[in-house]
Amino acid sequence: MVAVAGVDLVIDEGEFFTLLGPSGSGKTTLLRMIAGFERPDAGRIELGGRDVTSLPPHLRNTNTVFQDYALFPHMSVADNIGYGLRIKGVPSTERRRRVERALQMVRLTGLGQRRPNQLSGGQRQRVALARAAINEPEVLLLDEPLGALDLKLRQEMQIELKQIQKEVGITFIYVTHDQEEALTMSDRVAVMSNGLIEQIGTPVDVYERPATEFVAGFIGISNVLVRDGVRFVVRPEKIRMLADSEVPEPGAHVEPGTVEEVVYVGMSTRYVVRLDRGEQLVAVRQNMDAAGDAQRFQGRPVRLAWTADHTYVLD
């Protein structure tokens, strides 16, 4: 069994780089190889130009934020955060000062004497981050660090993480299966599937110009169509749904269909449309008008319009 194969990846200094993929895609294995917990059967891992492939974790200048945080339950928050410095032999006065600064960075000032089990999930997450970042590693590895938090907290932490990353200027390698998380935080994203990298690019690249059908399907809702022997993707928000006598913009491609389903999702409404040619497409419209208005499209014939520059051809 090969968990990761043929990965050729160069991550720049100071970059927020995300490995995105479904579970079993090999993203965590790749992260664990960089941390040194697993050794590749073949290939090399270099850190700042130095070959670290055979170096054990404690000799690598990387630090990890674990999915389950892995805070030492028998140590206080401050001792947890200061552990890396203690091992390095940093004198206690300087250590205290740096721990204090780290607590401040993750907005936990005053909680240093608590035990991990006296903290909430979000606070523990921040302790884990502070414990890793305080060592100022060359690379900070984050293994689905927000996975255990609820949606609201997760969104707050996404912004906070990004800010902290800019502040400390450390290279972040972030593992997640959440496409929204990947798009909002990353400088670049590598989309992985079955141990292979499907595409590497900026969030805009992988969303607007997916290289493969897998990427198109994994990131956002994608409408894959074949016209004149060409396979291409149109994103739902790029499709204009025309009712009654509305006129498409010039040069747009127009196809008739019937609305099968209307899904109200708060900010927008999702329309599932069956084209007369047989395919099913999803179109999204912002809820600018009265929200109840959307339901009137249910079961009605409509026309869908998109322009060529909003489609992306798949190989």
């Binding site: 054990p56 974790p57 674990f66 389950d68 892995a70 805070l71 030492f72 028998h74 091992i87």
Partner: protein, 265 residues
């Protein structure tokens, strides 16, 4: 409602059944008469002084404590090492080996006793304190092993990785993370091991030489029926000595500890 009351009454009855005989012995230790009959004619502490001055009690108590401490020490080293080995490595037949480690506790004491006795005499080893220690260590090791292994299995594996990740080498990981996390389980295991060794009769009978341990002494006195009041005093003392470590062990392992106390042999 009635079912609840009945259940409570039943629970009380069971507890009485378990503990009234023990309380009775504590009472008899203060009995003025050396005949055990109810009600007792009066209370006295004279049996305590008599027991204290009895040299056979003293020497057998000394032997029990020595054997208990030595067997516990041996069990601590072997049991912890075995638990670490089984937890850390994966190899073919690991479950079978694990079962072999636990078997001495499940094996009837009479079998362990006879087997050890045969082994010692076959190799020309004369029975002494050391043979008792080895005999006790066979089952004391199991409680240490079980406790430590259970704790290792409950410990997040990522904690060790986190320590390595933060720069700790093998020794530092053990000192700062592994040992503190398993320490209470080790102590609990040691206390249970001592309690087990302290009241062991069967294996001791087969592995002891001329000297006897306290439980074996008690056994002999009951058979002869001469020093019954002293036996009551000694038994009261043994109850305290065995209960205290078991209670502490239960506390240390977080309440559930008693569930792992194997049935007394």
């Amino acid at each position: 409602m009635w079912a609840r009351m009945a259940l409570r009454a039943w629970a009380v009855l069971v507890l009485l059944f378990l503990f009234v005989p023990i309380l009775l012995i504590l009472f008899y230790a203060f009995n003025t008469s050396n005949v055990q009959s109810w009600p007792i004619p009066g209370l006295t502490t004279r049996w305590f002084t008599a027991t204290w001055n009895d040299s056979s009690v003293r020497s057998s108590l000394g032997l029990s404590v020595q054997a208990g401490l030595a067997a516990t020490a041996l069990a601590l080293v072997l049991g912890s090492c075995a638990a670490f080995a089984i937890h850390r490595t994966a190899f073919f037949g690991r479950d079978a080996v694990s079962l072999l480690f636990v078997l001495p506790l499940a094996l009837p004491g009479i079998i362990t006793g006879i087997a050890l006795n045969a082994f010692f005499s076959f190799n020309g080893i004369s029975l002494s304190l050391w043979t008792i220690i080895v005999g006790h260590a066979t089952f004391c090791m199991v409680v240490v092993y079980n406790n430590v292994l259970a704790r290792l299995r409950r410990t997040q594996g990522s904690l060790i990785e986190a320590a390595m990740d933060l720069g700790a080498n093998g020794f530092q990981v053990f000192r700062d993370v592994t040992l503190p996390l398993i320490s209470t389980a080790v102590v609990a295991g040691a206390m249970l091991a001592f309690a087990l060794s302290f009241d062991e009769v069967i294996v001791t009978t087969f592995t002891a030489g001329a000297e006897t341990t306290l439980p074996v002494w008690i056994f002999g006195q009951i058979r002869h029926g001469i020093l019954l009041p002293e036996v009551n005093v000694v038994v009261s003392f043994v109850i305290l000595v065995t209960i205290i470590p078991v209670v502490i062990a239960a506390r240390l392992t977080g309440g559930g500890g008693t569930a792992r106390v194997p049935a007394a042999r």
